[in-house]
Symmetry: C2
Subunit: 758 residues, 2 copies
Amino acid sequence: MKNRVYSTVGKPTPNIDGIYRATGSAKYATDIVLPKMLWGKILRSPHAHARILNIDTSKARKVKGVKAIITGVDTPKRKYGGLPMFPETVDEYGLALKKVRYIGDEIAAVAAIDEDTAQEAINLIKVEYEILPAVFDPVEAMMDQAPQIHNVSKNIAFEGEMEFGNVEKGFQESDYVREDEFATSMLSHCALEPHASAASVSPSGKITVWSSTQSPYFVQKDLSQLLDVSIDRIRVIKTYVGGAFGGKLEALAPEFCCSLLAMKTQKPVKIAYSREEEFISTRHRHPTIIRLKAGVKNDGTIVAKDCQAIMDGGAYNSFGPGIFGRIGGQISLVYRVPNMRFKGYLVYTNKPVCGAMRGVTNFQARFADDSQMDMIARDLGLDPIDIRLKNARQPGETTPHGWKVTSCGLTECIKKIWQKRNSIRKPDENTYKKVGIGVSCWGYYSGSKVGHGLSGVFLKMNENGTAQLLTGAADIGQGLTTVLCQIAAEELGVSLDKVQMSPVDTDSAPIDLGSWLSRATYFMGNAVIEAAKDAKQQVFEVASKILEADTADLISKDNVIYDSTNPEKSVPIEDAIRNSIFKRGRAILGKGYFDADLGVSNLKTGVGNAAPAYAFGAVLAEVEANVRTGQVAVRQITSATDCGFPINPLTASGQIEGAIVMGIGGALFEELKVKDGRVLNPSFMDYKVPRATDAPKQETYFIETLDPGGPFGAKGISEGAAIPVAPAIANAICDALGKRFTSLPITPEQIVKALRGT
Amino acid sequence: MKNRVYSTVGKPTPNIDGIYRATGSAKYATDIVLPKMLWGKILRSPHAHARILNIDTSKARKVKGVKAIITGVDTPKRKYGGLPMFPETVDEYGLALKKVRYIGDEIAAVAAIDEDTAQEAINLIKVEYEILPAVFDPVEAMMDQAPQIHNVSKNIAFEGEMEFGNVEKGFQESDYVREDEFATSMLSHCALEPHASAASVSPSGKITVWSSTQSPYFVQKDLSQLLDVSIDRIRVIKTYVGGAFGGKLEALAPEFCCSLLAMKTQKPVKIAYSREEEFISTRHRHPTIIRLKAGVKNDGTIVAKDCQAIMDGGAYNSFGPGIFGRIGGQISLVYRVPNMRFKGYLVYTNKPVCGAMRGVTNFQARFADDSQMDMIARDLGLDPIDIRLKNARQPGETTPHGWKVTSCGLTECIKKIWQKRNSIRKPDENTYKKVGIGVSCWGYYSGSKVGHGLSGVFLKMNENGTAQLLTGAADIGQGLTTVLCQIAAEELGVSLDKVQMSPVDTDSAPIDLGSWLSRATYFMGNAVIEAAKDAKQQVFEVASKILEADTADLISKDNVIYDSTNPEKSVPIEDAIRNSIFKRGRAILGKGYFDADLGVSNLKTGVGNAAPAYAFGAVLAEVEANVRTGQVAVRQITSATDCGFPINPLTASGQIEGAIVMGIGGALFEELKVKDGRVLNPSFMDYKVPRATDAPKQETYFIETLDPGGPFGAKGISEGAAIPVAPAIANAICDALGKRFTSLPITPEQIVKALRGT
């Protein structure tokens, strides 16, 4: 595979659909306008934990223009979220029944002729509550006397434990052992487009839902479950998506409520969230406490690790159980460890719900692990790069969790960023601005399975030599459309302008699970290759007759088919297709699908191969810390990424750069502050995300490893670089100030306090 | 095939999409509303033939709200219509350039903020003409001194001649020879939904066109040609269609002008025709003069026929050259004739354009042939049934035109209707109301090819055992969606409620030519079977592992797969699919296509097999003619139809009944009256279509022949029964009154004149 020359993949390519976004003509869910459409609004719980005694909608119903009001009893009373194979984890109703479990929990929804009328009706709904004691801290929640949020003991939603090798023996054999506790905060995705959805119902009862989603098929499945309507009666159309980052995987209240309101009113209904609703409801990143104990030899070789984690899930499970068990797996993925133990709890609290967010659980795990690696190196007087190189995961290995590493360029990534050390490191600017550098590594899934991991593709070729892809591919701004068109173009041997992708619609797209866990390029890309090969074979069969050549000898490139044994023999692909259609009555129709063969994965323990391939990377952060104000500026981030093969280096770089800025937010600024269950900062005024002025200079390098299973060797790229930024910055701050911070975000207050020793 | 028991096909089934039409929720093209949409209006020629000297749009452009004005020079100046392999027949610009050729010819179009503003601007466009001599009669048009409409000699757009056997010798060997001339009128389709289209253009230049069309792919091709934009940059979405009957096959001015106006304005544009525009522009049925000479033996056996035809094409070719040559073929299809000659001309006149209409050219041909058969029977004292039975086409025969008749139930059809003769025939009611009966037969294509004849299908199966069809199938009210879902359900072995079809959109549908020449059930049905077999095979492969059975032994029925060697072994299809998806990572994706292998067809002569199968039928009409007023009431029509196998007898009957009422219109009422090139009756006030009170009692019978190539033995059905009604009524009128009418429509005036001998 190494020296193959490509025409389309691997070339920096502007996003095909960029012009739509740039010119404002891209339709987002909130842009959907349908005749006679109603507006929907949602009533939320003002209490963190309460029994619903009565809901009186009578006054609200009298508001002129109100067309329907739904509460929990009007729904099919079915639950979703969690893991179907663990039914007790499936815990959330579309609208609360009997109890509310966090401030923001959805209680009722109104459809009315306009937004103001809907809000007026919402304000008039009277709910009688019996307020229940609430719990907000996951450790307190696990105590015997804690209020019970769901019908599970000690509020433990999910738990798991694994051991590989002999960890205690490992610690005994270690020269040095240390144990630390790390804590991360609740983070919000902050996609610039808030959640929005519209739904309409046909006279035969078929529901069409427009959704700003990362996974049309997940939305279909969730709605099927919540509405008690079979999947084939729910059509999900993905609109343009203005950022998602894991927050738009499920059907949330907008999808559910506008669908049910549309069913009740027989009119289209739209619900678009305010920024405040984004912050107080939707999903968030799990605040996680990780107690990590590591034993190493004097030369830094890791002997054993013991990881204990408490993940604060908030009021409902969402994807928590699906991602929880892999905390330990993510720790044992990056650095080799012969003895590994993990024990963890996913715990309910009366706080907003946590779910999937870019780099799920790995963000937390790597903050702990890569901070501690630095602490160990410092303690032992080792170079932070050397200790990482010594333990770096190597290709062909299987981790203690049974994760099979196919390709791995971690060592090369570490070396690459370290080359930059000297050029980066600058002297302190003055006495109160201290400069430090820090490194961190990461490894991450290229997709995974949820029941299955299928991506399917239909591909049709037109008589003018162009190709059309039908997929469920959720381009959420990351450039997936362009990447898949590049892959199809390369495999077909046509130029990129000959390939386009249809709008994503579950009524025409083959099955596909969407964009999450950095799966899309790998899974969908492989499916596109299959479909393109299928179509190409059909074209080659015709071309072989035209050229009087053996099909096996044909190659296609730049829109022409050549006989590789006789380059003088060639036929334009367009001509071959026209011949097929007009002379032979044969349509060129391709299909393909891909799923990964991973064996059984234990979601409680993280044991069992999680992904068909793993991407790796390393970052080097240079920070400047102001010892007077405690403010930290990230001057530069140098990143080296092994994503196998960057199909589109332009958007791959863009993803890395964006992920790094997001990582800076989590490291230094962001925290959804929840007090007594109430979000204190539900706006961009108070919840601080990085701005352009906070973005550092970046140098971005790719290490090509050409994964044997990836499309053209590619692996996932969209999440990884968000993961190592916080530990790299924490390490750099420690380098600058000599102070170690073990909880995120590392705010000026934390720093000033630490420097003052208070 | 004979005794197979079906679950779904062959069962009377209400149209799946009937509820959408009945509840008013079906979206027709004129219902399309897009943000910032403009209205388009078209300026038409007031002259039948004129040179355009100048077009002054300056005043029109000053009207507030006018966004764009286009004339011929603003278009890419490319032509369409006719037959690409005969470039001289491709004769029509999107907007007239230099010359106009009929009253109604499109000259300019305006896009404005509303309909009134657009019309105001249209009214202000000043066109300077040099009026040219015009010609309205096709026979005059062929004379040397006639004005030349296009750059062709004697205004002959297309001509052809063929002879099979020795016709002159045949006449010599005949006992009886007669020669007659028949004439038919210009008819309008009168679809209740006028033509409408909307278009929008994306920032990247991709054009999306919503069209009330019978053939999204034809519209795409036409627009590609006229706009000089490649087909992959044109997306055609078929809306619900409120009747088409051949009149909505092409991109007409609405599609072209709204696309070009959308390109110019970068805003969506809609154009919806008025009823008047329907009548003065669009397309019509060719008025045709047929001179038919037949030689028979005394017992009625046909020995030779000589057919000469002059088809009045109006100002442009449209589909004329594509259908013209088959007039003779349609005459030689129904009754066996050992010696056959055809010579014909398609002629330009300065009249509205004629194109395709239900039963193309066969309507005219059968009026001549089946009227003359009756005249011959009458002359020779033969029973009109006997002479038909004696000459009726038989299965397995090849006609003089090389048309290969696979299945043919014509004889059984004739016998079936004749059984009804006695029960139908009633005595004259009184002295001035005379009752008569008449019969006629027909044969008709089950599709054909235009370059190719492909229909393609994608089929995906969902994890709940349901199937989704992706097709370009143009349901135009005839019930095609239901028929194709029935076929898929039957082939898959699932119940009908498990199958649905996606909205038709060239961006997702595989190639398909649409609904015309009664092709859809045959071509698309076969493609659906292929796709369903493909998917079923994939499901069977999984089921064979579950059941530990041989794939070849499996059958599916009622949503369950059985081992035919051991009926105790079974698995629900849903379970097999879930197993495939969740346990094996295999998506169930089917694809299929169909084209007919017909060999070469000569479109000038009609020689060469025209269709993969031919449907046949016979009708018996009972009329009551008022000798005082000349009014004819059709009391009853009994029809027997060999459509192979009616997939959906309910809609098949509906099609036959509708076709028969349409046939009555053409026989007795309808004529687009054109005087000096001007349509005199462009409204339903003046152009008389049958109303409910004109609809006769009908008895509808099916003769099953199970065509070997048809899906479940089916052949086309949608046009046939419209064809024989006029000759059956003419024969019945002759039976009642003793007067023969050889031109259509047979109006009260004609009858009164004939009875008065004036």
